[in-house]
Symmetry: C2
Subunit: 241 residues, 2 copies
DNA sequence: TAGTGGTCTAGACCACGTG
DNA sequence: ACGTGGTCTAGACCACTAC
């Protein structure tokens, strides 16, 4: 008795597949609504419902009079969607990244489970220090599966003004559509406190993040330590009117 | 040249006003879509768009074949919408509350600013210890404006199996539709560590929460300390497919 | 069976951006 | 002027719930 899925779900799925296959790339305009309606043999209203859901999921953006576009992980976009660290006035600002190290290694059990890869599968292991207002504030340890990012090299970071997820999108065609963050409080270790410029034994936010692309495929796993003495992590729930 | 707002916004506004005025109370069924369409002199499609937005904002819930209802702050609802503390397996469970103290006082500057009330305006000052799996995990210090909760007394907590926001809704007709939480890491003070049963100097999550009802009116301000040694704060961003 | 919300259609008109 | 997305309408039919 499997309930028949509504038509617009099917349309949405076809659009998502087209995005995944690279038919339309980030920042590009997709087909207009009348064109999509004709291609899929449905009415415009049905197309609009499908596109509307994809827009609500931060995958497409509609612009009246111009068209519908695949979201691009610009700095502004990252700031609004994925970055939640604010200063004491509630203002947000993207950090500047400084690469500490980058090497190949093998996934430990936890990382393998998070990334849905085999234990000891090859990963890229990155450490980076992120600064806000010139002050080191965030220490990232990032693990990426080599299977997806084989050609990732240090040189790609040197000349970058964008974000890591922007790099994923531009160079590897991988769009992060959702991240899950699990936050706990920890005491800064000796090395962490030195890098972040805080007293040994200071409290830090420890954020375990997993980033997912389409179809809930995990792509990046990171552990992020945040000096929250001058910043906070902002979470908004419910979004009422 | 003020752009004319679309019709469905007007309809949405009228529905929100009716909710605020108490015409339909939590858990009750509101008028059917054809009835609303006739009352407001618009087509059903326009009503559906308005109701759809209110549903997306967690203010109404539609149930096929039954009707559209005002959300009720049941335990399940709270768990899914406003409670973000999970155990190490990622499971959620609502805490049991134990009231530590409740007294009248006056708002300090920070609290007054958060609640949009005058400095030194009268507030109710509550301390409560919340336990997960029988283990004290969260220490809440809550400030409520007396202007909204004049009749709040300790007896209302004694016989309670619901949540604080459920109490707001049932006894005071106030529905929280959005909360903002600002999270930092702190070191447990002497009293905090004793109440939470952790070692002095342990790291804790410090969550500054403000709860809002319709029209962005702040209603409750609290500072929440969480023992994150066995739990974490879960945040999901982007919600892609 | 009657009433509810959910889907889908077809078409008119509006608001906006581009050439 | 044209094409885009945005709004609004009217009506048909489906899926589900209650009685």
């Amino acid at each position: 008795m499997a309930a028949r899925p509504p038509l617009y779900r099917h349309v949405k799925q076809q659009i998502t597949d087209a995005l995944r296959s690279g038919k339309w790339k980030h920042g590009q305009k997709i087909a207009s609504e009348p064109q999509l309606a004709e291609r899929f043999g449905v009415s415009i209203g049905t197309v609009r419902k499908a596109v509307g859901e994809l827009e609500a999921e931060n995958i497409l953006v509609r612009e009246q009079g111009r068209g519908t576009f695949v979201v691009s992980h610009t700095r502004d976009y990252m700031l609004n969607v994925f970055f939640r660290v604010v200063d004491s006035d509630g203002h947000k600002e993207l950090p500047t990244m400084s690469l500490l190290s980058m090497k190949r290694g093998r996934a430990d059990g936890t990382t393998a489970a998070l990334l849905h890869i085999a234990p000891r599968a090859p990963v890229i292991d990155i450490e980076a220090l992120l600064s806000l207002k010139g002050r080191p504030t965030i220490l990232d340890r990032i693990r990426l599966p080599v299977s997806l990012f084989a050609e990732l090299g240090e040189h790609l970071f040197k000349r970058r003004d964008g974000t890591l997820y922007g790099l994923f999108q531009e160079r590897f065609g991988i769009t992060i559509v959702r991240v899950e963050e699990n936050i706990t409080a920890v005491i800064a270790g000796e090395r962490d406190s030195r890098l972040l410029g805080v007293a040994n034994g200071s409290p830090l936010l420890r954020i375990r993040r997993v980033g997912y692309t389409y179809k809930n495929v995990p792509v990046d796993a990171r552990v992020r330590l945040v000096d929250s003495s001058k910043h906070g992590y902002l979470s908004v729930l419910g979004s009422g009117s």
